[in-house]
Every structure is written in C-alpha cells, then in structure tokens.
Symmetry: C2
C-alpha cells in the first residue's frame, strides 16, 4: 500500500493543522461579525451542473466520479465512454452556491449575505506546484446589483486579511464590461470576448508575447492582434483612459465610486486601485472583478467579482450576485514561511502515569483541565528525558502520579 498522500494533496500534521484551524476560525468569525451567515453544500455535485457552469479553464480540471452498478455496466456495454460519470467533485464554491440559492431562495434573507468555507478539487498538473485539493473561504451577496455590495465585500475582505495578520496588500479592481469595451475597441468580435479574456488572464504568467501567441493560435487576425498589443504594451491604462473605450460610462463611474469609498473606509491601511489587466479566469463574471495582491510576496491571495447570470442558469431568471474568495492555501504558505505564531494558544500540561494508575491519572488531569489542555503520558524509564521533551514542546508543567507536587518548566 502507498504511504504518501496522492500527488497534489497534503497530509497536515498537528502543528500545521492547528494553524489552519486558527486561521479558518478567525476568517469565519470576521465574516460572521460583519453580518454574513455560513451555509454548506456537498463536495459532490451533479456532473452536468459542473460541465455547464461557465467555469472557464476549470471545466477541464473536474474530477469525475464513475457511475455505479447497473448504470455503469450499461454505459460500458453500450460503449458510451463519455457517459461513465454521473458525479463530479466541486471545483469552486460559487457554482454550488448558485444551485443552493436556486433551491432554497424562499427561505433566505434578501439580499443573502453568505459564507462558505470548504474543500474544492481540481485535477491540476502537480508540477505547477498547485494543489488538487484546497480550501476556499468565500463571502457572497446574492440579490443586489448595487455597488454598495462591492464596497462591503472589499471592506470585509480587508478586515479578514488584517485579522489573520496579512499586512501590506493592495485591492485591484476592474470591470468585465470596461475590459470588454477595451477588447472591442481593439477589434475582437463580440462573441469571442470570453475566449480572449481566458488568454489575457495569463498575462502575468506568459507575458505579452505569450498572450498574443495564444490568441493568434485561436485564429484572431493580425490587425486586431497588433492593435491589442499596442494597448497592453503601452504602459498603464488609467481608469480615465479606460473610460474612453466605453460607450456607456456608468461602469467606469461605478468603479470610481467603489474605489473612492473603499479608500475612504480603509483609512490608509490598504489601497484599492484600478487595474486594466485584471481579468480573473472564470467565465461567469459579468461586471466588477477584484483581486488582492500581497505586496510582500507579489502574489494574488484573494479574488472575486460580480456574476449576475449564474443563478439564472438554474432558475431562468437572472439574480445579481457578487463574491470574494480567499486563497487560503497561499495565505497559509506565506504565514508559515514567516514563522507566524498563533496568538492565545491554549497552554498544555502533562500527567505522567503508570498503566495501573489510569483512574487516578484521569482524575488528576480533569482537575487541571479548566486551565490547561492536559495530556496523559505513560511513564518512561528515563523521566528526565521526558521532562526535557515536554518543556521543548511548550508544556507549562507536568505531574507524575504519586508525587507530592506539580513540576513547572
């Protein structure tokens, strides 16, 4: 039998798991303190829901669960090799949320301010250093199209990040409709914008040449690509300049209002800025999109945006929605690399016993459990060595059953 976890997945040892639990509890508490409520959806979803979900590149990364029993036998017999799976593992928390909202909307607050924290799965090539199972910590607001929702989401995300000890970050914001106006002005056809966005999203990873190359392979004409190269190579595009691409100026004005209000509320603790090159990979975004960049580590640590049409795929009626998701694994990695210490960790105490003293040991341990987390440890031959080990592991003290007093380190 294999003793290692599957490639792209991790076993979490006690110290790391304690950090993960701590961070998740602080994030959850921050979200709740700001008026959001937690729900949960299953890890397994109907494969057709996932396949039809506008998930962009993620659709290629779905883990598929095989049918069982007769259904599998029938599909195999009929040679229907595209129809062997009936279930998939969720690749994000947004699609399941939209299904959840569609099924339960009569019972939910309007707008519905919701927290989700859980595992998602993507069959990434592990050499990229990406995980195949990872945690997302999302807030979403379903049922309002007002930009006050974007402001609130950004504000809450900022608080959550600061509460877990992330300093020195920047909120980047864009709007798919402004982005689309820019792409249309370059000459891309309207019904190909999604495909263009998926390539443009890779700008950070593959550079201008990479993006143009990929778009060229997708068959876009030279003139458009030359114009587009001019736009994205020509230095920063300000919101003022981006506004010029837009026929309807509302979207740019919205962005300005969101940016100004967020910066006012943040009181200099972090900045919210317009970023024309921000795309976000998911196909389902329809308006504002955001991303948090850690300035210390130069990487994206959270992202989100408005997806006003995704609920509509379930119920045939568009419901405005907006969400923001923490890249939990990235943040854990950053904090661990920087020797993060959990504040207010419970103190530990050990009760050392011989195995015929079990009842006495448990009784003594219980008397200490109001103040300490108490571990029962069986008495070794070399007591001194055990004391040293307990002290080095951060135990506050111990008691050897039968002794007169506690021993403190």
């Amino acid at each position: 039998m294999r003793i290692n976890s599957l490639k792209g997945t991790n076993d979490y040892l006690p110290e790391v798991q304690q950090l993960r639990d701590y961070l998740q509890s602080v994030i959850l508490r921050t979200y709740q303190n700001n008026g959001y409520e937690r729900i949960a959806t299953p890890i397994i979803e109907d494969i057709e829901n996932l396949d039809n979900s506008d998930g962009g590149e993620n659709l290629k990364l779905i883990f598929k669960v095989m049918k069982r029993g007769d259904k599998l036998a029938k599909a195999l017999e009929a040679g229907q090799f595209d129809d062997l799976a009936d279930i998939g593992l969720r690749y994000d928390l947004t699609l399941p949320l939209c299904r959840f909202y569609s099924a339960n909307r009569d019972k939910l607050a309007k707008p519905f301010k919701v927290i989700q924290m859980g595992d998602v799965f993507r069959a990434e090539q592990p050499q990229k250093g990406r995980l195949r199972q990872f945690v997302q910590c999302d807030i979403d607001v379903i049922g309002s199209d007002n930009p006050s929702i974007e402001i609130e989401c950004i504000n809450v995300m900022g608080k959550a990040l600061m509460n877990i000890g992330i300093k020195n970050f920047k909120m980047k914001i864009n709007d798919r409709r402004v982005l689309n106006a820019m792409l249309l002005s370059a000459g891309f056809p309207k019904d190909e914008l999604m495909s263009v966005c998926i390539s443009f999203d890779k700008l950070d990873k593959i550079g201008v040449d990479g993006v143009i190359g990929e778009l060229s392979e997708k068959g876009f004409d030279e003139a458009t690509l030359t114009k587009f190269r001019g736009l994205i190579e020509g230095g920063e595009i300000t919101l003022e300049k981006a506004r010029e691409f837009c026929e309807d100026k509302t979207y740019a004005e919205n962005l300005q209002y969101i940016i100004d209000t967020c910066n006012d509320l943040a009181e200099g603790k972090y900045e919210t800025v317009f970023d024309m090159s921000l795309v976000r990979g998911q196909g389902y975004y329809t308006g504002t999109i955001f991303e948090v960049e850690s300035l210390d580590f130069g990487s994206s640590i959270a992202g989100g945006g408005r997806y006003d049409n995704l609920v509509g795929k379930f119920i045939g009626e568009d419901i405005p929605a907006c969400g923001f998701s923490i890249g939990f694994e990235r943040i854990c990695a950053i904090l661990m690399d920087n020797g993060f210490e959990i504040p207010g960790k419970p103190k530990r105490f050990a009760v050392i016993y011989e195995e015929n003293q079990t009842a006495e040991a448990i009784r003594y341990a219980d008397s200490k459990r109001g103040e300490y987390d108490v571990t029962l440890v069986s008495k070794p031959n070399k007591l001194g060595k055990l004391f040293g080990k307990l002290e080095s592991q951060g135990y506050a003290g111990c008691y050897v059953v039968g002794d007169e007093a506690d021993k403190w380190f």
Copy 2:
C-alpha cells in the same frame, strides 16, 4: 440544471450550519482539552489503498474517481474496464489515518493521540435514509496496546457527548477475540470468522432468522448454525459466561478491568456494559470494540475499537491502535429534533441604510462590532415591516442611518 443537491447529500441552511459548527467546535475543544491533537488527510485516496483496506461491507460503497487524459483513454482502448479509476473518496477516517501515521511516524508523539474531523463518502442506497456524504469526529491512539488507552478513549468520548448536550447513553463494549472464541465454540471455521462477523453485525437490523439465513447462504453447515442459533437466542450472555468460551482468559479479564474503571470514572453519569452481540462491521478490528447507544432514541451514536494490524498493512510492522468515532449526523438529527438551542450565541444588530450612505453605514456598523455581529440592510419602503422581521429573527436592535438613536427590540 438540477437545483437540488445529489441524492443522499444535504445543503445546510444558515441555522443548521451554525448548529453543526457549534457542535463540531465543542467536540474539537473537548478532544483537545483531553490532550489529543488534530490532523487532516485528503478526501481523495489511492484506490488501491481503499480496495485493500479490510473495510468490510464499506468496500462495496466506494465512490471511484475516473482516471484522466491518456491514462483513461488507454484503459478504455484496452477494454480494462476494472481499471478506469485511480482514486477513491475515503469511506472513513481510519484507513487514511493509518496511511498518515505510516508516512509521518518519525515526527509524531508516541503514542500518538489524534483527532480527525471531516467528511467521508459512501455510495449507500439512499432509500435506507443514509447519507452519502457525512461527517465523522474521531479520536485515535496509535502506538500503545495497554487497556488504559481503551479507558481513556471511552472517558473522552463520554465527556464529548455530555458537552454537546447528549444525556442518557450507554457504552457497550466487547472484544473481537472473545466474540471469535464464542463463534469457534459454535463450530465456525477459524478462517471464516470475518465473514461470520459481517453477518452477525446485522442482528439488530435483520434479527436472528435473518443472520442464520445469511450464514446459511454463505454455506455454513446446519449443525454449526443450530448451535449458533442456540447461543444467540438463549438470552443475554454475561461476561462471566463469555469468559468460558475463551482459552486465553486475558481478553475477558481486560474487558472487566476496562468496564470497572470506566464505571468508576463516570460517577454514574453513564454506564459501560459488556454486550456479546456487539460486532462492529469493519473487518479491521482486532480486539476491544465499543459502541455508544442513546437510550432516549435507541440508536447507535458512536463506535470504535482496537485495530492492531491496520498500520501493519502499510509498513509491514504491526502497530497497536485504538479509535472512537462520533456518528455526527445522527447526533445532529437527534439534537435538532429536540429543539436544541446553542448556548452563548452571538447577539445580532442591524444597520439600515440607503445605498448612497454606504460609507457612513459601514462606519457605524464597525462601531458596534465589538459587542454585536452587525448586518447592513438596505432601507425598504416599509420600515415597520423590516423592524418586525429583524425582531422575529432575534436581532437585539438596529440603527437607521441618519436617525438620532438606536432602536432596541
């Protein structure tokens, strides 16, 4: 697209999820307070590990994840229909724990006292009212064969159940070796005991006739079955009587020691009793087995036992191990049916605003967030109706931006 969650799975609405989070946090805190440390393993496991894991009937219920890309194409082309999956969803937390221990044992305390809380998956027939995704909350101790470990596990489980408000339960205990001695005395062949146990485990569900019928179908002879029927029909088998079946009296004496010590420590809050008909389905149990029965609801709410050979399947060296797992879903259902109220629920406050007052609303909300969880609510036409709704939802009060004072319910 389908709006309901897959059959056998649940969406959890805010109120239910809040209860689930509360219960899990109390269970986790109790386990930690008793000196156990939490780890986590992935939900996806190598399919061969799962298939070879002595999981008894659960092996038939594994959700299998299809291979991807070339590997899938090759297997399909070659008609290797038994080899289409390379991954499975874990069906319990014990097998992954043994793999984890095997991979990481140099870094772990000896014995290793460990907590696991997470989702497991079984492709049950949903008409049984069983879930296909459900939570388990386990403690395990790996690396000691002393019965003080059984005593500690039972003691900690008792505390966890009492801390979440479960009263009136009974710990049932047996030992697979005593059970085996009884089955051998009936005449079952030694190498068929596992198969006999799997059928005997269904006694509660299918009765004596059902068990005898299933064993008959498995081909056991009439004489053995008649003798066995006499044993299990003949009224309660006491530990004293069970002892007579055993050549080696140690196991029965061990049980007596565990039972006496647990009852001493429980101080009458619950009872630990010997139960000859306790089997536990998993094939991997090797010694003591336990189960908690809710006396109010007549159902099993936790179970576990000793599995001294499972780690050995990974590293070729047997390591003693013992675990106890809470049937979290059963307990949630029981508590919800009985109108359980979460103690110390955070108080809620609402700030009611018009959408051009966002910054002011967030600032006022923040000033209240030390004491309350504060929700921003956009101002409706009928303010009175909103007040009534907030009050009925348990809000302590609210503030309408622009008003002079808070409004309290």
